[in-house]
């Protein structure tokens, strides 16, 4: 199965999972997140092998670089710290209105403060 998957240019999610040696659900998660480009033909996905190679390239690591994985608590703290309030909000509103044509606050007036699933 693996040899077949390696030799094909278009893979099914199962073949992609086999090729990447990850769970099938992980492949679906990457597709849903837009990290892995796929085409939906009828009810099933087909994934170009080039998309998988690109994913491997984008997620490659160098051993001396340690990338951080934030905890839920850290993310909560970041988002709290990111809230615009007080003088920062005042400056932001003034600069937005006069220098950016109100682009920020017009664009965000109907938006949620943050996604709720962090």
């Amino acid at each position: 199965m693996m040899n077949t998957a390696r030799s094909r240019d278009i893979l099914t999610p199962d073949q992609a999972a086999d090729y990447l040696q990850v769970d099938r659900e992980t492949v679906y998660r990457y597709i849903r997140a837009g990290k892995l480009d796929a085409s939906k033909l009828g009810r099933s996905y087909r994934i170009p092998r080039s998309s998988i190679e690109l994913l491997l390239l984008a997620t490659r690591t160098r051993p001396y670089i340690k990338l951080r994985e934030y905890t839920d608590e850290q993310i909560e703290q970041f988002l709290k710290e990111d809230v615009l309030e007080g003088k920062a909000l005042e400056v932001a509103r003034a600069f937005d209105e006069r220098a950016m044509g109100g682009a920020f606050f017009k664009q965000t007036s109907g938006a949620d403060e943050a996604d709720t699933t962090a």
């Binding site: 934030y70 988002l79 990111d82 809230v83 007080g86 003088k87 003034a94 600069f95």
Partner: protein, 157 residues
């Protein structure tokens, strides 16, 4: 320190995560200011990768798409990945953030924008030639010094 459109802001992954996850926050605001050309945003490949991984694991598909859009819309200065000796140099003081500070310092960024308070405190306690600030603190303390902000104030008053 005076600022203008050439002032460089190095964004870490905490601020880029917040900019993607929360479009109404200070990080998203500062990125927009950079998109308008009032300031210059800088990032490193490792910071982008760190952001992307955390968004995939801890946020939503919508936030991930916003991150992709942010990369497409923002004239980012992408600095070279730091060499191993430079990262090792900063690791004792900055641990896993060694690569962040190595990239920011080697690219001569003037400000490091982060929401990670312990990281910002470590930078402030050092003698490194860079100022670490949250987006809110930057807006409050630095942006009012921008010539365009001064011009705006004069127009309004």
């Amino acid at each position: 320190m005076t600022i203008d459109s050439t002032t460089t802001l190095f964004f870490d992954s905490a601020s880029l995560f917040a900019a993607s996850h929360s479009p109404t926050g200070g990080s998203a605001y500062l990125i927009l200011v950079c998109q308008y050309g009032y300031l210059q945003a800088m990032v490193s490949p490792d910071v982008l990768q760190e952001t992307e991984r955390n968004l995939l694991e801890k946020s939503t598909a919508a936030a991930f798409l916003r991150f992709r859009q942010l990369l497409a819309d923002t004239p980012l200065l992408l600095v070279s990945a730091p060499a191993e000796p430079l990262v090792r140099l900063y690791e004792p003081a900055f641990f896993e953030d060694g690569h962040v500070i190595a990239s920011a310092i080697s690219s001569n960024a003037q400000y490091l924008i982060t929401l990670d308070q312990p990281f910002a405190r470590r930078i402030s306690a050092s003698t490194l030639p860079i100022l670490a600030m949250s987006p809110g603190a930057f807006l409050q303390e630095v942006l009012p010094g921008h010539p365009d902000y001064e011009r705006i104030r004069r127009t309004v008053t």
